[in-house]
Amino acid sequence: MTALAKLLRTTAFRLTLVYLLVVALFAAFLLGYFALNTRRLMNEQIVRTVDSELAELTGQYEAAGLRRLVYIVESRANQPGSSLYLVTTPNGAGLAGNVASLETGVIERTGWVETSYRRLEEPDGGEHRALVRVTALPGGFRLLVGRDLAEREHLFRIVATAGRWSVFIVVVLGIAGGVFVSRRVLRRIDAMTDKARVIMAGDLSGRLPVGGSGDELDRLAASLNTMLERIETLLRGLKEVTDNVAHDLKTPLTRLRNRSEAALRNAASPADYRHALETTIEESDALIRTFDALLMIARAESGEPRAGMAPADAAAIARDVGELYEPLAEEQGLALTVAADAPAPIVANRELISQALANLIDNAIKYAAVPARPSGAPAGAPVAAEQPEQPPADVTVSAAVVGDRVEIAVADRGPGIAPADRGRVLDRFVRLEQSRSQPGSGLGLSLASAIARLHGGELRLEDNAPGLRVVLSLPRAASA
């Protein structure tokens, strides 16, 4: 019962019913129109033949008198057929013809009339219908000529039967078709609903069934599946962030807490407390910075800041950020040069690209300040300028159009990254062993990578032989 109720509620079934009604109405209209026209046509034909016969008989009467008329009428009346003839005296008594009785008053009035009658040759037979015309002959006699309507009635009945049957067939086929289509659709939708329930219950890896016929239900399922994939990716990203937050924020938090406890326990003087508090603030600032970077990555990966994008010149961005870092590089004994003269149009969020580039330059300065050593042993933080026997380590910032891409690159002469590690450093929080001594959250490269992806680009790590070259490759915009 509920299955039936569900079936009746489906859109497919309701649509079928509506179409059914339309088709049935159309069929009825067509048949009715056909029947009416046929009837009119048959009437016209009767009228024409009766008129001509009447004219002919009247002519015979006028030319040859009553006897001739009676003779002709008798001979015609005896022939089998649907014709009706009656000649009467002025007072209505029958002289000749095949009509036994008429409805009263028919013979008194001249003109066309539809009447029921009995035939002479079947005295106890039933009544028939006929279309007749009565005309008054000179001398008061009356002549009636007509045609039996059995043929017309018969045709009408055939049409009516055909109408009933066709309506019946349309209704049966329509309902059957509606049920069939609705059940098919319903079965697929039920399958989708079931799957959706499973997904809602927490199994986000589930996907809606796609039939493969490419119809609208398939397209809907495919769109929903794409949506689910996106949601799953986002949730996975969220989970990763949560894991990372748990792992890498809890460590410094623990340190912070331990240090505060130690200060409470051991501090002997206000200066000790002051020192402990200052360290605490420094550590919490570092934590905030890590946290901000994490949020920034999550936002960039969710695609949220895409709204703030506008045409920009990557070369100008490279010059500006390069200028910001140039004194810092110099202080570290590095020469930072910017090679970005020709405009490099991109559509970007200037702030984010600047931030990504700032991270890359900051990294480059940090690592380039560590002189490259064949052993790859971690160095303290000797400044290159203090070792005049080594060539000055350079950091080069460039922005240029390369084919349909705009490449912003930061190249250094630092220790570089082994090819095997290059994929790994783009992950969050990964800091290669030799960089542990450097300050930083380890999020710089992942943030730059997330920003690149947000702009439809990518971050590439290349060998600068020696050193590292990080390329922020973005789609080139039409014009500056």
């Binding site: 800041p305 703030g308 810092l328």
Partner: protein
């Protein structure tokens, strides 16, 4: 006097200790703190009073709006997420009534577009939580001064002069040649002479960046500028305010 490469911290800034000689004292301001978190509000009000300002507190948007409408404040410090009426709508309502008191928006939402939204709603400055008190204080003092409306064609601090029209900088009789960015840096510092200017404020106003550059790149720029304007002169003008930022002042006066 080399710049101290340190993270600004509120603990150090309160009270502001005296690497910079105690200046002519910032005039007392009337401030309204609209913040629903009790602890945060108490801390802020207390800290503002300790440095000599008068601070009122409103715990929700409606109360804040009504106070701001009927009292006269120098600066409003408005949290973005408030009960009854959010911070942006409070500022919007004030601006609609023609009340132009400067407003500093505090928000846990620090991203660039949130900031843009805040400034578009009529806020005058935006500070992401968590903030250091030194940063907040510096911004509030700059906002209070800005409200006084002072855009001049030339700035003068001691014998240092900056002409904004001819882009010339002189100290005494000596002409000082600056890079364009150094000029803008000095211009911003001199415009707020006698006030603490934080590194973040410099990054935002001189470079138009709102992200954290990880390393204190600003310090290096400032020390370059300092080398050009103070080196060889008996009286230093560009001072480091420990734990807060920088200040240009004429110490001789």
């Amino acid at each position: 006097m080399s710049p101290t490469l340190r993270v600004p911290s509120s603990a150090e800034a309160m009270p502001r200790d005296g690497e910079a000689p105690a200046d002519g004292k910032v005039p007392t301001m009337r401030l309204l703190v609209i913040e629903d978190d009790r602890d945060a509000a108490d801390y802020l009000v207390k800290a503002l009073r300790e440095v000599g300002h008068v601070a009122d507190h409103a715990a929700d948007g409606e109360e804040g709006l009504s106070l701001a409408e009927h009292e006269s404040y120098d600066v409003l410090i408005v949290d973005r997420m408030l009960p009854k009426r959010d911070g942006l709508s409070v500022i919007g309502a004030l601006r609609a009534k023609g009340i132009t008191v400067p407003a500093l928006i505090l928000s846990a939402l620090g991203a660039v577009d949130d900031r843009v939204k805040g400034l578009r709603a009529g806020g005058d400055d935006y500070l992401a939580k968590p903030y250091s008190f030194a940063e907040l204080l510096a911004r509030v003092e700059v906002l209070a001064r800005r409200h006084g409306g002072r855009e001049e064609t030339a700035y003068r601090v001691g014998d240092l002069e900056l002409d904004r029209l001819s882009h010339r900088v002189t100290r005494g009789k000596e002409e000082i040649v600056l890079q364009p960015r150094e000029f803008r840096l000095l211009e911003y510092l001199m415009k707020h002479a006698g006030q603490v200017v934080t590194r973040t404020m410099l990054l935002e106003n001189v470079w138009d960046y709102h992200f954290d550059p990880q390393t204190n790149v600003i310090d290096v720029h400032v020390s370059r500028l300092r080398a050009k304007i103070d080196k060889g002169f008996a009286q230093p003008l560009l001072h480091t305010v420990r734990g807060a930022g920088y200040m240009i002042r004429d110490g001789a006066r």
